[in-house]
């Protein structure tokens, strides 16, 4: 069912070398290529549109769900709706990821709309990796939308990674947090060639003592373009921090747009943004350890994106 190319892409996006333990749903070229549910985690195909519902029972601990997507045929365009219902007090890891292999001349596009309903005091670690390969003329396009609704005391840690090959991406992330909820986002992005990547975050801190920390580290090479917009809305006693740190190289273009919106005197919101080239003294230090300039550059970038 899964061929070699698909297998390799699965490794890139989901660190999967074999069929995963626990619940999973593998989608390949628009069709289900494998599914497993557990006593606590159910996966149900949507009837009204393309996509799945993932239902995690309250109190589920230390379980994981993998829902990778692979497109290896040229010319597939799809929009998929995945809804996650995470029960109270659950503690789970969700790994989503999309890999495109496009050798053809038609564009391949996957737009995943993910909605998370996180119950009281639940804890979720979410990893989403994007990867594309193939040297056809067809573009590899990913436009993920993530919506997160966090109930009181819940904790969500999201890792969003896009390191290679995706030509065009618009990532939209929205979150609404109730009291004592926490959302942490780590985004890592590298663009090259003529790629374009836009990331837009809007986090509404609605509950008392809710907090968020959005950290983006990116490298823009060649003639690529990146736009990072982070808006944090503080409607009560809350704390929010956004940080965008970008290395710009060659003829790239990087835009960072901060937006802080405080509606309460006790909303503490901070935004930091820094864009700059690789520091010359970093290169000199690594070259003085015997690395060539190119090796030094690779080390600095891979450390930065780690």
């Amino acid at each position: 069912m899964i061929d070699e190319i698909q297998k390799q892409i699965l490794e890139e996006v989901a660190d999967l070398h074999k069929v995963p333990d626990g619940a999973y749903n593998i989608r390949a070229n628009g069709e289900s290529a494998g599914r497993n549910t557990t006593a606590n985690i159910d996966i149900i195909t949507k009837e009204d549109k393309s996509g799945i519902d993932i239902r995690i029972k309250p109190g589920t601990k230390n379980e994981s769900v993998h829902i990778p997507v692979v497109l290896s045929k040229s010319g597939i365009k799809e929009t998929v709706y995945n809804d996650f219902y995470i029960g109270e007090d659950a503690d789970v890891t969700i790994v989503a990821g999309c890999g495109i292999h496009n050798c053809g001349n038609q564009d391949s596009q996957h737009d995943g709309i993910h909605r998370f309903y996180v119950g009281k005091n639940a804890k979720v670690r979410y990893v989403e990796k994007h990867y594309a390969q193939g040297d056809g003329l067809g573009k590899k396009i990913l436009n993920p939308v993530t919506e997160v609704y966090q109930e009181a005391g819940s904790y969500v840690d999201m890792e969003m990674v896009q390191i290679k090959g995706v030509d065009s991406t618009v990532r939209t992330t929205k979150a609404e947090l109730a009291e004592d909820a926490t959302l942490i986002v780590h985004e890592r992005l590298m663009t090259h060639g003529k790629q374009k990547a836009t990331s837009v975050y809007t986090v509404e801190l609605n509950g008392e003592n809710s907090s968020t920390d959005i950290i983006s580290r990116s490298v823009a090479k060649n003639e690529s373009e990146q736009i990072f917009e982070a808006a944090i809305v503080g409607n009560t006693v809350c704390s929010g921090h956004a940080e965008c740190d970008a290395i710009i190289m060659d003829k790239a273009h990087v835009v960072a747009v901060p937006k802080l919106d405080a509606n309460n005197v006790d909303a503490a919101l901070i935004h930091e943004a820094a864009i700059g080239k690789i520091a010359g003294d970093q290169l000199i230090k690594l070259m003085s350890l015997g690395l060539t300039e190119q090796e030094a550059e690779e080390q600095i970038i891979s450390g930065f994106l780690k």
Partner: protein
């Protein structure tokens, strides 16, 4: 042996050409512990950078173990066996102390081997190996890690540019001990740029650089009495007074 032959390093400032290093000649023999001192602005740090190849000399020649390195890059000099500890250590986002030590050693250094280098510079290794080399570390900690990278390289010629700069007095006392240890276990040439009397007092040889050239060179016994009390040799407490 490092032979520095009649080198000049020229910069342009306000349309005027200035020789930061002005026809400087110096030989550093193998296995020696040499301290370069002299007034601020005399060209000491510039000389260190010229030796590592960070800046390119304007005229003159530099020979290392019989090989002309005048036109060689930083990487080539590093691979020939020259190391350089920065006066102001560089920060790296995401690169950990162990990564840097591994790059320095040029091999997949084990954690215990990395810890050994950190212990040598007086850092409790387990607290540091997995820290990022960034501003969360203090100046004194970064300085020791910088020195540890040079130790991990284990090359035959190591240059330390003002190891005492930017560290507090307490760290300084420990740093002196580090260099006393290096002094005892030396198996290569060490060149330190320093104003500190304690460092000068463990040298085999002292070189005084002023106005871009060598003003004096000789054994510690010859030079130290002449320069004590000048800005070339400061007692460690001067900074606090």
């Amino acid at each position: 042996m490092l032979e520095i032959k009649d080198i000049t390093y020229q910069v342009e400032e306000n349309n005027q050409k200035i020789n930061i290093i002005d026809h400087l000649n110096l030989n550093i023999e193998d296995g020696k512990f040499v301290v370069i001192t002299g007034p601020n602005g005399g060209g000491k740090s510039t000389l260190a950078k010229l030796i590592m190849g960070v800046n390119e000399i304007t005229t003159g020649q530099m020979i290392f173990d019989g090989e002309d390195i005048t036109k060689k890059s930083i990487t080539e000099r590093a691979n020939l066996g020259i190391s350089y500890a920065f006066q102001q250590p560089v920060h790296f986002k995401g690169i950990k102390v162990i990564d840097l030590l591994r790059l320095a050693a040029g091999e997949k250094l084990s954690v215990s081997a990395a810890c050994e280098y950190l212990s040598k510079v007086g850092l409790c290794a387990k607290d540091y190996v997995n820290r990022e080399v960034n501003a969360s570390l203090s100046g004194g900690e970064l300085k020791r890690i910088e020195i540890a990278t040079v130790l991990a390289r284990g090359t035959k010629f190591a240059v330390f540019d003002e190891p005492e700069a930017g560290i507090d007095l307490w760290s300084f006392q420990n740093l002196i001990r580090v260099f006393e240890n290096i002094r005892e276990s030396i198996n290569g040439t060490i060149l330190i740029i320093s104003h500190q009397e304690r460092i000068l007092s463990i040298a085999d040889e002292i070189v005084v650089i002023e106005d871009g050239h060598v003003k004096k060179q000789g054994t510690k016994e010859e030079i130290l009495p002449e320069i004590l009390g000048t800005s070339a040799a400061k007692a460690a407490c001067d900074k606090l007074m």
